[in-house]
Symmetry: C2
Subunit: 274 residues, 2 copies
Amino acid sequence: MSSTDAVTIPAPVDDLRAWQSVLAHVEAQLLDGTLSPGDHLPPERTLAADLGVGRSSVREAVRVLEAMGLIRTQTGSGPSAGAIIVATPQGAMSALLRLQVAAQGFRVRDVVKTRLVLEAAVVADVAGAASPDLEPSERLLDAMDSSELTPQEFLALDAAFHVSLAAASGNEVVTAMMAGLRSSIEGYVQAGLAVIDDWEATAARLREEHRGILAAIVAGDAFTARARVHSHITGYYTQTALVTEAPPTPETTAVVAAPTGTGHIALSRRTAEQ
Amino acid sequence: MSSTDAVTIPAPVDDLRAWQSVLAHVEAQLLDGTLSPGDHLPPERTLAADLGVGRSSVREAVRVLEAMGLIRTQTGSGPSAGAIIVATPQGAMSALLRLQVAAQGFRVRDVVKTRLVLEAAVVADVAGAASPDLEPSERLLDAMDSSELTPQEFLALDAAFHVSLAAASGNEVVTAMMAGLRSSIEGYVQAGLAVIDDWEATAARLREEHRGILAAIVAGDAFTARARVHSHITGYYTQTALVTEAPPTPETTAVVAAPTGTGHIALSRRTAEQ
DNA sequence: GCGGTAATGTGGTCAGACCACAGAGAGGCG
DNA sequence: CGCCTCTCTGTGGTCTGACCACATTACCGC
């Protein structure tokens, strides 16, 4: 692994499989700007002819691109048909994490810990932002106040609320990861419902905690927001015995122990700053 | 939105495309334990016959599974041939993030910010761990001391070092994400080399910073480890003008400024858990 | 017994065909 | 002249059959 020669050119040939060469071709065109979001991929038959591969190989690459959230395919004719570059990572991230959890490549414990880290950072970030758009989050909380919700519907709104916080941070990477992490353990979360004796009490507590988190964010109190998110998430998972031990996550415990207090803090508007 | 009825059961039928039904079939078998890591997927022709779809549709699903890092396919015959469940998420996560960055679904800025959050949490976690295995990280640092490395080789080892820290935390989700985040902006990192006048000086600084991070971890000082990681990462990106503004990432600056002192905090034992 | 060779079963690829679908255009009708 | 309908065309979605490369396994001759 030194530097200059030494390699004697082992096998610079492309022993890529046919579909991989198609994928590489598309990726290269994305990188050099030949393809951009909104553009159409060439028709499969054309692409096959251009690259000298069979249409089925092109289709396998297209399938991967679709699964990765890069394109959207549609049958028919006209401007909206065909394969269009869209770059919607959420679904792909969800699928990836969900499958990996299903195949035991990811442990639920690690998923929860990661979610804790990301979400704590998110709320701290949003709390420190100039004028975050928290309207979607608030509307979700209002929707969750309905007493007619089934536990499943409640949890769906719950998940959407948490993702909406990530969206408010403006970080699409974290947003996609949060959505994926949540969906990957959705089955376990729903299974956790079984061990809850008094669902209404639990729902009421969750509603209160959500309001508390949002209040801390609006107040611009990052410390409190972090602490509340931490206890909110660990609370549910320990209650449902989904995760045995509550991971202390040093940085958050330190924050919890911080002397900032959890009472009403300032409520400063922190308007113009950006 | 609302609650009970209203939907009139829109379309419970499976208008899944053929390849999606194959994917769903495999995922269901993963979830109920019929398939586990190490198992073989049925041969494509068998699977096609069983599910009543064409072999090409099966192949598209298999291709997605392979791209998602769930299986490894091999030609030939015998126990090692065929499609085997492996669940290796790193490559898939890297591909996903890389493609999304290429397609402008993810901004480089967000990738860097996310990396900052995750890596700060990782070092704090490892610093608080009972007996983390830091030997791989140390060996990578030793390898980076060589003066014969090209910048590219140095950066490759650099990336491996950061991923090794995540691996030391034992959280495979974060490890995969870290590897993916890094690889997704690898092109930009290498492009950043161009604006560095004195590479040797930069390399020396990076070496020193790496040692400093590892030292803080070994000392169990989570706060210092976080702070050093933060400045280490932002340092390179601001130097190479990859990210214009240095994102302060409230929680880290807050932690650095926290009055708790940098002494032993946390140090949660987290002994037997595996 | 042993070595070499054929058979077998797997994924990888290609070619061709057909279908469903949706827009575009030509044509007819009022 | 305008509107409506109908065909035409191009797209992805799917299936079938065929062939290849490859690695193991079984068999056969020695």
